[in-house]
């Protein structure tokens, strides 16, 4: 489902350097409201840097970022969060000393509707999201005690609790068994369709998920967008194999 | 205020600054290698001062001799501190290591108090004076300043021209990388803390060459506070930075005093200290990485 008027996120010619290393070179992409986009690329292609720039953790050296028509290139991360951009990190970063429930509640308290939500409501929303991702039973555990896959689900729930309009999921399926991957894909689709959230998913290896989930795909290689289009176009392109040559990937 | 006066003030600033520099090096070194802020730095300086005092009064050994004792004891003490206390705290939350080194400083102070009492001690170190720009300057202070410079140079040569020194610098830059290269990181940490402690104690000996009286268990406190400013000035972790930072600091102290005196402030020495801390705050605000790159 696509809202085909204006994109909710427009990244325009963004370049980001770290000393001599060019992590992103004139990267441009659009994501429309409610869309499901996949960004794929081998290790080191700059995916996480791209998310960091969209998120506000880094400021690009060149280029601009527009969110719902606002120029957010220089806005701090907390403001972007309140505007509706939520992010799940590649290596999950839960608040270790807080319980699972508190972690997710914090997302609700400070996300898009944060200022309107009371503590009780935030906890209620947390419970709701935890049920969605299957962590409700562990809601009173300290986040530090969760396993790796559980932490990824916690990241996801926390990001959802922020009521985002744009959800950035960094390698959310990495390290998961195939059954779980399908589950996550279905969950993302369901949430995206029901709430109209635009979702951008970063993927390195789990191409199977990309095919099932995405409407459009961008391919990032060494800091540049080298391929983009519908899933079919991109998956069939011989260029894709070239890029991934030498990197193992899982086929359908 | 004539030219000779000004030169003399600069001379004094450099001598004092050289001493401040060698004292601050210990703090900077330990932080650079282990990322630990050693709050017991002041206590170690104090013990160095007591070492000079004890060996002079008991064995008539001049500080030029007791400094070797201080260096050796310092290395041993530092390594012991690492293995007993600090080893578990590498990488821990800052608060934890700050509290641990603070507890250590209290312990060292109390040991000194129980051994020597609270009274001020001093010894009669008079090596003569020398004519500097028409003023009489203490020779022991000059020797102290020169000794400080010598020690700093030796340390720098050690760090940059020896294998062990290279290993230390490697660990300071990237402990994991150094580990992967086969360097025994824990041993380096021990050596680093040992060296830092040694320099602190040696610094204490040298400090008594500048002022051989007024030694008590809290002798090291003002030096600790000043070391903070100096170390930030020179860049946390840089040995040369700490020394040059010390020189600048010493110059500032000696030049500020007459200025504040001239401006009729009630206590120019306190105002000089005030200025030094304001400089610290400004540095942290504007250029926290210090004036020099590592």
């Amino acid at each position: 489902m696509m809202n085909s008027s204006k994109p909710i996120l427009r990244v325009q010619d963004v370049t980001k350097r770290f000393g001599g290393l060019v992590a992103l070179r004139k990267v441009s992409l659009d994501i429309f409201g409610g869309e499901k986009v996949a960004i794929i690329g081998p290790n080191g292609s700059g995916k996480t840097t791209l998310f960091n720039v969209i998120n506000g953790v880094y400021i690009p050296d060149e280029g601009r970022i527009f969110y719902e028509d606002n120029d957010i290139t220089h806005k701090p991360p907390n403001e972007r969060a309140r505007m509706g951009i939520a992010r799940a990190f590649q290596i999950p970063r839960p608040f270790p000393g807080a319980t699972v429930r508190e972690n997710v509640a914090i997302g609700a308290l400070f996300g898009r509707f944060g200022h309107k939500i009371s503590l009780e409501e935030a906890l209620r929303i947390a419970d709701e999201k935890l049920k969605l991702v299957g962590l409700y039973d562990k809601r009173d555990e300290l986040a530090a005690k969760l396993t790796g896959p559980e932490r990824k689900m916690l990241e996801f729930a926390r990001a959802l609790a922020m009521s985002p309009k744009l959800l950035l999921l960094d390698e959310i399926m990495a390290g998961m068994p195939p059954g779980k991957v399908d589950q996550i894909v279905d969950l993302i689709k369901e949430i995206s369709e029901k709430e109209g959230i635009a979702v951008a998913v970063m993927v390195e290896h789990v191409i199977r998920a990309v095919i099932r989930y995405a409407e459009r795909v961008y391919v990032l290689d060494r800091g540049e967008i080298v391929l983009s289009g519908s899933v079919d176009e991109v998956m069939r392109s011989p260029k894709l194999r070239e890029i991934y040559l030498g990197t193992r990937f899982r086929e359908v | 205020m004539d030219l000779n006066n000004i030169f003399f003030i600069i001379y004094q600033g450099l001598v004092l600054g050289s001493i401040y520099g060698v004292i601050a090096i210990g703090l900077s070194l330990i932080f650079g290698i282990t990322r630990i802020i050693n709050l017991s730095h002041g206590a170690l300086i104090m013990w160095g001062a007591y070492t000079a005092f004890t060996f002079f009064t008991l064995y008539n050994l001049s500080p030029l001799g007791s400094i070797f004792i201080a260096l050796v004891v310092g290395i041993g003490l530092g390594a012991a501190i690492f293995y007993v206390i600090l080893k578990r705290l590498i990488g821990a939350h800052e608060l934890t290591t700050l509290l641990a080194t603070f507890a250590l400083s209290i312990f060292l102070q109390e040991l000194a108090r129980l051994r020597y009492g609270l009274d001020y001690r001093g010894y009669n170190l008079y090596m003569g004076s020398i004519n500097m720009f028409g003023y009489g300057a203490s020779l022991s202070a000059l020797y102290g300043g020169i000794l400080a410079l010598v020690l700093t140079t030796l340390l720098t040569l050690f760090l940059y021209k020896t294998r062990l020194g290279a290993a230390i610098r490697a660990v300071a830059q990237d402990p994991v990388g150094a580990y992967v290269c086969g360097i025994d990181v824990n041993k380096i940490y021990a050596i680093g803390i040992g060296l830092g402690s040694a320099f602190a104690m040696a610094g204490g000996v040298i400090a008594t060459m500048y002022s051989p009286t007024g030694i008590n268990p809290y002798y090291g406190e003002p030096y600790l506070l000043k070391s903070f400013v100096i170390v930030v000035l020179g860049g946390l972790g840089s040995v040369i930075g700490a020394y040059i930072g010390g020189l600048i600091f010493g110059l500032a102290e000696t030049t500020l005093f007459p200025i504040y005196d001239y401006l009729n402030f009630h206590s120019p020495s306190s105002m000089a200290l005030f200025t030094e801390f304001i400089i610290l705050l400004l540095l942290l605000l504007l250029r926290p990485q210090g004036l020099f790159k590592r």
């Binding site: 009173d140 | 932080f31 040991l111 926290p288």
Partner: protein, 335 residues
């Protein structure tokens, strides 16, 4: 909600109030222990106040003593002024309280603007710089009497009259401190269970992620800082009435800050009941060690501190919480 659930939910608050009532009763019933209890309250109150910043954000302010010192000076200066302009008792005290708050908030405002942007070690060093700068400025420029300090005993006699001197130097400040104990405890309880509290918790656990989640980290740190500084300055203002002689070195002594860092850590940083436990333990051990083994107090203290730091990272209350979080009522109590 049944009665049981209501009780559990507010268990921390109930325990808090019960302890305060007990402390007050103890003082009424055993007047000979009055000063010991006040010392206890001193430690508990400042620990509670400090906990709101240190415990909740994890930032170590070595210069925290400055706010206590400014509170001391605020009251002392107000008393001196009031005495020379013949103001009534309550105006004088009120002036002291207001001046203490004004001074503390001005300095905290400046520190907040500069230092809260710094991380970890740099923040700690900056706060050291601040407290020492204040001390040397006062001595160097002979502000408020400089190194000679401010002595207000005779001014108090003048304002309150000779017969009411003990009222002014004992009853009044003791009551004030007790009120502050209750206030700072309640403030901590309210903060901990509010949006601000959750934001601060997030900041302490992982400041970068907190920002990404929408928390205005700088603002929240600043608010916690001001609240914490204000409460401590008020304790200082009352304490000035007790000691009646205020000097720069003691008023800005970093060892004071460290004492409270230890207490907050000992009790459990960020918990509501932690400061009560830590403050009491500390005050009582200091008192009894002082009578049993005078002279060895600090030595033992330093060794104990080392042991605590190496073994009990989360403080007593924090450790209990980690062990027993499974039980809902423990979780509610040890928040």
């Amino acid at each position: 909600m049944g009665l049981r659930e209501v009780l559990i939910k507010h268990l921390t608050l109930i325990i808090l109030i019960v302890i305060y009532v007990i402390l007050w009763l103890l003082r009424e019933v055993f007047p000979e222990y009055s000063q010991l209890i006040i010392t206890l309250l001193y430690y508990i109150t400042i620990a509670q106040a400090y906990n709101i910043f240190l415990g909740m954000t994890g930032y170590v302010d070595f210069g925290y003593v400055s706010y206590f010192g400014l509170g001391l000076y605020g009251m002392a200066v107000a008393i001196t002024l009031s005495s020379s302009s013949n103001m009534s008792e309550y105006i004088a005290i009120l002036l002291g309280i207001l001046l203490a708050l004004a001074l503390a908030n001005t300095v905290a405002g400046v520190v907040g603007a500069i230092a809260l942007r710094l991380r970890g070690a740099y923040f700690a060093i900056a706060t050291i710089g601040l407290s020492q700068a204040l001390r040397y400025l006062i001595e160097g420029a002979k502000i408020w009497g400089g190194a000679e300090g401010v002595i207000i005993a005779s001014d108090l006699r003048k304002i309150f009259g000779e017969e009411r001197f003990s009222y002014a130097t004992i009853t009044l400040p003791d009551t004030g401190i007790f009120i502050l104990t209750v206030i700072s405890g309640l403030v901590m309880y309210v903060v901990r269970n509010s949006r601000l509290g959750y934001g601060l918790l997030a900041i302490r656990e992982d400041e970068d992620v907190a920002r990404v989640m929408g928390i205005s980290t700088t603002l929240y740190k600043f608010i916690a800082f001001l609240i914490s500084a204000s409460l401590t300055s008020l304790v200082g203002s009352m304490w000035a009435l007790k000691i009646t002689a205020i000097y720069p070195p003691e008023s800005f002594n970093i060892a004071f800050s460290v004492e409270f860092i230890v207490i907050v850590m000992l009790g459990g940083a960020g918990t509501v009941l932690g400061p009560l436990l830590g403050g009491s333990l500390y005050a009582l051990s200091k008192y009894y060690l002082g009578t049993i083994l005078p002279g060895l107090q600090l030595t033992i203290f330093s060794v104990l501190l080392l042991v605590i730091v190496l073994v009990f990272r989360q403080g007593i209350v924090g450790e209990l919480r980690s062990l027993l979080y499974r039980y809902s009522f423990i979780r509610e109590v040890i928040r």
